[in-house]
């Protein structure tokens, strides 16, 4: 409840219609008997009215399609992908450069370091977490091979894993210190994913002895072939994958 005579704030609250019904009646009675105060209040009310009129034009601007929420969402999605993708590439570059330093000292086959750490990292980002968008998607093995051949000449053929129910579904190009790498994700009907990873051995031609490495829940099988290093990354310890490993012959 406001007190009479009304304070400055009460007068403004009246202009802004923020008084309760009781206060409003009280105020109107007061203003009716105090023409000087009423005139001040009226001037403010007029200013409000003029301001509303003056600013109403700004509501009539032609629509800007860039501001449509659908557009904004799309923009956000692209940006976060770009952002995450560059973060992932950075991560790969860091993990690979960590080991090219080692390579430079040892000048030998990679054996003691973690071979194909980038393949495992790419699998986690791309196949498991879905952070990186696919560059290429298909249900057809032939066209996936075609996609890969565009970037890697005379690489190993994509392994045929259809016997274990796995088909290539998506591909993604990645950058490593040695140059462009690619990852092809295979999926089986239950949604299990494994990946085929190709990357150049780099100018010093570091080739890998055939090997296998366990890293957390993942297993990397790696080898070198004509001109490239390869890895298959497989989640270990799942029955489908056990079956796959038995049938797989790299």
């Amino acid at each position: 409840m406001i007190n009479m005579p009304p304070s400055e704030s009460d007068l403004h609250a009246y202009v802004d219609r923020q008084l309760s019904d009781d206060d409003l009646r009280l105020m109107e009675t007061y203003l009716g008997t105090h023409p000087d105060v009423a005139a001040r209040v009226r001037a403010w009310q007029q200013d409000v009215q003029h301001l509303r009129t003056a600013l109403s034009g700004a509501l009539q601007q032609p629509a800007n399609p860039d501001l449509d929420p659908a557009m904004i969402r799309q923009h956000l999605k692209h940006r976060s992908r770009r952002h995450l993708a560059s973060a992932a590439v950075l991560l790969l570059a860091v993990s690979v450069s960590g080991y090219s330093g080692w390579q430079a000292r040892e000048m030998t086959f990679i054996s003691a370091a973690a071979p194909m750490a980038d393949a495992l990292e790419a699998y986690r980002l791309f196949a498991q977490q879905g952070i990186l968008p696919a560059d290429y998607q298909t249900g057809d093995e032939g066209s996936m091979q075609g996609w890969l051949d565009r970037y890697f000449t005379q690489a190993n053929r994509l392994p045929d894993l259809s016997g274990a129910g796995f088909k290539p579904v998506s591909g993604r190009l990645l950058s490593t210190e040695q140059g462009a790498a690619a990852m092809v994700v295979y999926q089986d009907p239950s949604g299990q994913k494994i990946s085929f990873y190709v990357r150049p051995p780099g100018p010093k031609n570091y080739l890998l002895p055939r090997g296998s490495r366990r890293d957390g829940e993942l297993q990397a099988e790696y080898w070198s072939g004509p001109g490239y290093n390869y890895a298959m990354v497989i989640p270990s310890d799942t029955p489908t994958v056990q079956r796959l490993k038995q049938t797989l012959d790299f």
Partner: protein, 168 residues
């Protein structure tokens, strides 16, 4: 999602108007609205407002404007010497051109413009404005009173001093 987008679409003209009143420049204003909507949509899942969507958007937009303004002012101090735009206070020189209420409005400080637009034009409650600014409602009322007083004087040309008219 679609329901939210519909609500947002309806509010966009109001956001653009508010942004113009802050930036005084339609294309900067749209950049500001875009940044505001991006922020709103990306925060929607964690921080959606309990109450009025419009007040929430105004508050995001206002904070972004202040941040951008602060950043740009850091670099603009030198340049200010060469320009006739000083956003902080209406100067006596500029008040001579206060002929319409819009011109008077444009000479108010950023916060005064925001306050008058929120309360007088958009009809937000004192409490909503207090939440946006993070101050008690009493403070909102006293600042609003000063803003309205300033607008009144500018509209009346009470502080017009023609002898100080800027020569261009």
């Amino acid at each position: 999602m679609n329901e939210l987008d519909e609500q947002l679409r309806e509010l966009i003209p109001r956001l653009r108007r508010f942004a113009v009143s802050l930036t005084r420049n339609p294309s900067n204003a749209d950049d500001l609205v875009q940044a505001c909507l991006e922020r709103a949509l990306s925060k929607w899942n964690d921080k959606r407002p309990d109450g009025d969507l419009r007040a929430w958007l105004f508050s995001i937009l206002y904070r972004q404007f202040l941040d951008a303004h602060r950043r740009s002012r850091r670099y603009a101090r030198m340049l200010e010497f060469f320009t006739d735009r000083d956003d902080a206070h209406p100067s006596a020189e500029r008040s001579v051109i206060a002929q319409s209420s819009l011109q008077a409005f444009e000479q108010l400080t950023t916060e005064q413009r925001a306050l008058l637009l929120w309360v007088s034009v958009e009809g937000l409650s004192y409490q909503q404005v207090a939440d946006i600014l993070g101050v008690p409602t009493g403070t909102v009322m006293s600042r609003l009173s000063r803003a309205r007083q300033a607008l009144r004087q500018l509209s009346d040309g009470e502080i017009t001093r023609p002898t100080l008219r800027r020569l261009k």
